[in-house]
């Protein structure tokens, strides 16, 4: 476990170095854009991986929380004239409260039932964003005011790169801490055996709610950042397909691996950019990746490679 912690720190330092070094080799604004999107998706996936990979629960509705964050933050800063940073935090808190309110009935369900309930929740959010046209602009979407903090406006890909990079680094650090703490142990325990977790004193439902809310809040923050960065937001960011994208990233990268979630997000954000000719088949591609991973590499990329490496060393 000490070894585990050292590995985590090493990974964190490596990630920091990559984030610092990357701008030197990024040739143009287009690649910046892809890298920023990778960072935003990675934040969602790292949170979702706490829920899926560590605690063994499932959510097919996390794009809903991403979408709520993406809409709530600009609405608060635009209509109520709040500073964007405050609006982002308020949006995160509101999503936290909403996810807390729905978590208790939802997380009493297991397996398929939990999947269906979260799916339904995501779809409801998606419908609301589409239908509340006066507020959200409906299917056409709405413009988002620029982000500013202490009078400084965040503009241009380079600035956003550092903002997202810093947020990603903070998310990874906090997540590694959590996973390696008694709270993280309790999450893995309820994944392993709910009855055994309960008789050792773990309030199983409370921990499920905690991790669900945490992952929803991370998705909301990532959504708000995305909206301010993109400057325009449509309900397509909160669709069922977007939820499946997030889950596929987590599954491909690796269950119960923070860096796995990051790498899954990187690969599947970059893939559609590389395969632009196949744009019409994007859903098909993601489906194939999901099925392929489940069949050939059920633990996901990073844990499987780590295992192979460990075996090779021996």
């Amino acid at each position: 476990m000490v070894d585990h912690r050292r590995k985590g720190t090493r990974g964190l330092v490596l990630l920091a170095l990559i984030i610092v070094a990357l701008p030197a080799v990024i040739p143009n604004a287009y690649i910046y854009d892809v890298v920023i999107l990778i960072g935003i998706n990675a934040i969602v996936c790292i949170g979702l991986n706490l829920l899926i990979g560590y605690a063994g629960q499932i959510s097919l509705g996390h794009a809903g929380f991403f979408g709520l964050g993406a809409y709530a933050s600009p609405l608060l800063s635009d209509r109520l004239d709040w500073p964007p940073a405050l609006a982002l935090l308020a949006a995160a808190m509101a999503v936290g409260l909403l996810s807390f309110a729905v978590a208790k009935p939802i997380l009493k369900l297991r397996g398929h039932y939990l999947a269906m309930a979260t799916l339904g929740l995501g779809i409801i959010i998606s419908i609301v964003l589409n239908q509340e046209g006066q507020l959200t602009g409906g299917p056409d979407g709405m413009p988002v005011p620029p982000f500013s903090l202490l009078g400084q406006r965040a503009e241009g890909e380079a600035t956003w790169y550092w903002i997202v990079g810093a947020l990603l680094l903070a998310t990874v650090w906090l997540t590694l801490n959590l996973v390696d703490s008694p709270v993280g142990r309790a999450l893995r325990a309820l994944h392993g055996s709910e009855v055994a977790a309960a008789v050792t004193g773990i309030d199983v439902l409370r921990y499920k709610i905690m991790v669900f809310v945490l992952s929803a809040v991370l998705a909301s923050v990532a959504g708000s950042v995305y909206a301010h960065y993109a400057g325009f937001i449509t309900p397509s960011e909160a669709t069922f397909f977007r939820s499946i994208e997030f889950v596929t990233m987590v599954v491909l990268g690796g269950m119960a691996s923070t860096f796995g979630a990051l790498i899954g997000a990187a690969l599947l954000t970059a893939l559609p950019q590389v395969l632009t000719p196949l744009q019409d088949y994007q859903m098909l591609t993601f489906g194939a990746v999901l099925v392929g991973t489940m069949v050939f590499m059920p633990k996901g990329l990073v844990p499987s490679l780590a295992e192979r490496l460990a075996r090779h060393r021996r």
């Binding site: 008694p182 392993g192 055994a196 008789v199 004193g201 945490l214």
Partner: protein, 256 residues
């Protein structure tokens, strides 16, 4: 002093009654065995006492407090811990982490300090890690401190579950067939281990089919048959009870 009182306990699943009007009590510090043929309701009784199933009627009192229907995690906090007949190991974790989960209540983990890795969290975690290692040594698992649970043999997993249950620091420990699947040598070690745990002041409630182990360690025996109390008393009393002999032990049971 009486530690556990079970009063008029009744448990049915649909129309099927597993426990009928069961009343008995367990003295603090004793080794209390519950025996009976398969289907007698022993495991169901454990599940009701440890809060995994609510009873249909009846009450359970622990140290004088009514604990009927309280959830399992709350009962763990009161000092009731158990092992399982079919192992419930966290196979996705290391052996040491399995035991560390047992210290969950002592750690009282909170979200924010854990997220920011406050020094107090790290220090306490280090402390519990050492205690978990000592506990693994106590149950004879020193060799497995660095092992992944999924790579351990069955007998070792049984001990691991015992270590995890002890980490909860129980006042009462319920063992559901600890000898099942063990070889005679391992069962022999279990006698001493159970007695050493009892010497620490932990009340032991033992469900077991290995009669040699039951006769060797029990102060008191409760015999269940089809969810009803058939007999109770000391080993000698139970062994010579004609109902017990007829219903359960059979003619060969006396001499085993």
């Amino acid at each position: 002093m009486t530690q556990l009182v079970v009063e008029g306990l009744h448990k049915s699943f649909g129309a099927f009654a597993v426990l009928h009007d069961l009343t008995f009590s367990i003295r603090e510090g004793s080794i209390h065995s519950i025996i009976g043929p398969n289907g007698a309701g022993k495991t169901t009784l454990f599940n009701v006492i440890t809060g995994l199933y609510p009873p249909t009627h009846g009450r359970v009192l622990f140290n004088g407090a009514d604990i009927t229907g309280r959830p399992a995690h709350a009962l763990a906090a009161l000092g009731i811990s158990r092992t399982f007949q079919n192992l419930q190991i966290f196979l996705n974790m290391s052996a040491l982490d399995n035991v560390l989960v047992g210290y969950h209540l002592s750690c009282r983990p909170r979200l924010l300090p854990s997220l920011f890795r406050w020094p107090a969290v790290v220090r306490r975690d280090h402390e519990y890690r050492q205690r978990a290692e000592q506990l693994m040594a106590f149950v004879g698992l020193s060799a497995f401190v660095g092992a992944e649970a999924s790579a351990m043999p069955y007998g070792a997993l049984k001990r691991l579950e015992l270590a995890r249950a002890l980490a909860v620091q129980p006042k009462m420990l319920l063992l559901d067939e600890p000898a099942a699947g063990l070889n005679p040598k391992e069962t022999g070690d279990l006698d001493t281990l159970i007695q050493r745990i009892a010497e620490r002041g932990v009340t032991i409630v033992l469900v077991e089919h290995d009669m040699r182990l039951v006769w060797a360690v029990s102060n008191h025996i409760l015999v269940l048959d089809e969810g009803r109390k058939l007999a109770e008393g000391t080993g000698a009393e139970v062994r010579h009870n004609p109902d017990v002999v007829a219903a359960y032990l059979g003619e060969g049971g006396r001499h085993r």
